[in-house]
């Protein structure tokens, strides 16, 4: 069966020989490399708020991105339409990055082989709109019945399907169809004058039916209520350095910020990262092993093949504390004389690919999570985070807790208000003193932003103890 993008190309009479013609134009003598990326993406979202399914949105975005690379220089242009004339004119804009010679005949030699990690079919077409609306109403009423303090409920349901084809001047072609679904619940509880929020959600590269299962959706609804309940009793936290234990799963956003971005190939080629030139050196406690793995079936951060047509891999970034490798796309790999690790990703046809993370996580360690907590006399136990940011040059990173507790006298006690933690990546990774045996990946709602491009990612970790990190509380 033909993919959506191949059907569209056929409809627009863009045959293999026409694609070859475009590549001859975008990669004449003097240009090192070129690729043409065709994409058709459809997405939708539905939401309920105030008990009413108020709006549904459908988005179609399609086009073709063409880039030409010469040394460190990249030319890029794209077209919203699939007509040959528009594509040839984009190819001409793209190649003008460098002085070039004659056009040469070009032919597509082979298909990239890779393992499919998810279904090719679109999640948008399998379920009727009525079923989606009824599902949102069901979750809304489930939450309202469950807790009498509910003041507001917002539930979102979203799905997308991207059909892509990339052909490059090495003569290789790769085609992939990518489903993605996501479900989010936000609850506000009101007790007296105080109002607090809880949110939860999950998703991945599968279809709506998994989300519609009660055990999936009710779990997140319960979780949002539980978090808001906890926050209703949260007290102010003290500012300053303290010991922090991070729960398993989503707190892995720590690794994404503290180390992940700093190990992306572009920053290291340009030597703008705090981790530049540190391969083979000790950058974390010797119990830390961190990988980026794009090959896990059906996960939000996974890709069967990246946007440059390289199959994804499990890339070991840090092994027993030693820096092993960077995440690479083709451009940076070539300039650093290594191979792409399948991390070349782009938000859409209208954006240039760059090295991006897929699913980044720390491997499980030897310690019992309960023993980790009881090893802390006084500190903080943080289990949920709302996001983070990093300055890859000086290594400073932040991540913001949305659910955290005090550890007093080796026991978890009062919940504390959301606060930001700040640390220095290379220093903090050396202060990881205990690692739990409870590795967990997140539930599939993460999105990473870099240079204005957003891509879906995954994170994960076991329970971790950081001996010392600065906490942004309000009390002194």
């Amino acid at each position: 069966m033909k993919s959506i993008i191949e059907t569209i190309l056929a409809h627009n009479e863009i045959s293999e020989s026409k694609i070859s013609q475009i590549l001859s134009c975008s990669c004449p003598k003097g240009i090192d490399y070129s690729d043409v990326y065709f994409e058709y993406s459809s997405s939708e979202s539905w939401s309920i708020e105030d008990g009413i399914v108020k709006n549904g949105t459908s988005i179609i975005d399609s086009g073709v991105g063409i880039r030409s690379i010469s040394g460190e220089k990249t030319g890029f242009a794209y077209s919203n339409t699939f007509g040959l004339d528009n594509l040839l004119s984009a190819a001409k804009m793209s190649r003008s990055i460098a002085s070039f010679g004659k056009e040469e005949p070009f032919s597509i030699r082979d298909k990239v082989n890779f393992k499919k990690l998810y279904s090719s079919s679109s999640p948008l077409e399998k379920v009727s709109d009525t079923v989606k609306v009824e599902f949102l109403k069901k979750i809304d009423s489930y939450i309202r019945k469950k807790d009498n303090l509910v003041d507001q409920v917002i539930v979102n349901l979203a799905a997308s399907h991207t059909s892509m084809l990339v052909v490059n001047s090495d003569g290789m072609r790769a085609q992939d169809d990518r489903p993605l679904v996501r479900f989010n619940v936000m609850v506000i509880l009101k007790k007296g004058k105080r109002r607090e929020r809880g949110s939860a959600g999950g998703g991945g590269r599968f279809h709506y039916d998994e989300i519609f299962a009660d055990e999936f959706s009710n779990k997140f609804a319960d979780e949002a209520i539980r978090q808001a309940r906890v926050n209703l009793d949260a007290v102010e936290a003290k500012a300053g350095m303290t010991t922090v234990v991070l729960g398993p799963g989503w707190p892995g956003v720590l690794l994404h910020e503290a180390i992940g971005h700093g190990l992306e190939g572009d920053f290291n080629r340009k030597k703008t990262s705090a981790y530049s030139n540190l391969i083979g050196q000790k950058v974390a406690s010797s119990n830390c092993t961190i990988v980026d793995d794009g090959t896990i079936s059906s996960r939000r951060g996974s890709l069967s093949v990246d946007d440059e047509g390289s199959p994804t891999e499990e890339t070991v970034l840090i092994e027993n504390g030693i820096l092993k490798g960077y995440m690479q796309d083709k451009l940076n790999a070539k300039l650093m004389k290594t191979k792409s690790t399948g991390n070349g990703r782009r938000e859409s046809y209208a954006h240039l690919p760059m090295p991006r993370m897929t699913n980044t996580f720390m491997m499980a360690g030897p310690d019992d999570p309960e023993e980790i907590i009881s090893s802390v006399k006084n500190g903080i136990y943080a289990v949920n985070f709302s996001g983070g940011q990093v300055d890859i040059t000086n290594g400073q990173f932040v991540f913001t807790a949305s659910e955290a507790y005090l550890i007093e006298n080796r026991k978890i006690t009062s919940p504390i208000k959301g606060m930001t933690l700040i640390g220095n990546g290379p220093e903090i990774l050396k202060k990881v003193s205990m690692i739990g045996n409870d590795l967990k990946l997140d539930d599939g709602v993460g999105t990473c932003g870099k240079d204005g491009q957003s891509v879906p990612v995954g994170v994960g970790q076991p329970t971790l103890k950081i001996d010392e990190i600065t906490v942004g509380g309000t009390k002194v």
């Binding site: 709109d129 609306v133 607090e196 500012a239 208000k417 930001t420």
Partner: protein
Amino acid sequence: MSSLSGKASTYKNQILKILSKTSKDIQASFHLNISNGLTVNCRSGELENIENQNDTGLSIEVFYNNRKGTASTNDLSLDSIEKTLSKASNIAKHTQADSCQGLPSESYIKEESGNLGIYFPVDIKMDEIIELTKSCEAAAFEKDDRIKNSEGSSFTKSENETMLLNSEGLFGYYKSTHYSLSCIVLANEGDSMERDYWYSSTREFNKLEHAREVGQRAASRASSRLNAKPISSRVCPVIFPPEVATSLIGNLLSGINGHSIYKKSSFLIDSLGKDIFPEFVCITENPNIPNAMGSRPFDDDGVLTQKKNIIEKGRLMTFLLDTYSARKLNEKCTGNGVITNITVESKKNKNANLIKMVDEGIIITEMMGSGANLLTGDYSRGAFGFYFKDGEIKYPVTGITVASNLTQMFNNILEIGSDVDFRGNIRTGSILVDNVTIGGT
């Protein structure tokens, strides 16, 4: 006058043709954006990237018996517009009725807008752009020999067209241009490596800050950060320079947005008519400032934008309402389906020197992370800054957090400087806030 471009007028005719065939049961609104532009990056004295941008997007909102559906596409063929309209109509048949839904019923735009002073197209040769961009980065390297690496300098230009049409006869159209020049450099000394940037952003190419100045300011900012130290936790006065202060004002604007109010998800739901800033603080909105980033003749629903006082003598005078949230709250729409130009002023002392007003404190030049909770006002973010004492900057500080509550921070403003940043749509000087908790060692 900004007359319709060839492309826009073709699309307008197509849309009108489709509207004339559309069933009278449905109301429809068409929002069209056309944008063409260019980004040029130079790094280490060489051209690095040229990205050509060329986008067209159409979003269609349909209302059917008080039910709403939205669909959008970037394929503007007649066939695709018809399919998108029918997709939006289908969605509107499945969503639930809400009597507040619908097209605006008053104060909406009916004709193309006159000269807003935000459209200045210019032809610049590629060689000239590359030279300009290179000279910006070169100035950074020349400024300070501790600038040893760079993420490059970048020039962007774009020409944009916005058109709105609906089935009730609403029609609005305007054009705008945007130019920017930025530079990101790294300073290095011993073990310390720091990165910072500067940029200029305007509607008119000739009004861009001089390329060499942009590079030099980026260099000074990066090198001033070198050898930053940690600092002990404390409660002290904090100065937020204009480029950081805009985020605090952004938090205010989100908190008084009609959608946050009706959803009861704002820390300011009970603040209308109350004093939420000291008496000397005034905040106004003006949608018609020539050359300004936020100038717009109409909002996302096609309602005419309006000049207004938001904060008068410290008091919150209005929420910011679009058509839907106004109906929801039973108030009059304020044309705030968009936020235009916001000006923050002090009526106390026009030439205050903030650093001399308090004995010591911290200037926060960068904030990181998303730690502003708009439901409770609780605030906790990562930061970089400079410790000052006796009117002088002493040393850079790193690894700190800034925490408080937005309600308290607004209330604790001691003064607003006259060093206004005109690059974005929020125009404020530095803001000095007392009693902010700094987390450190």
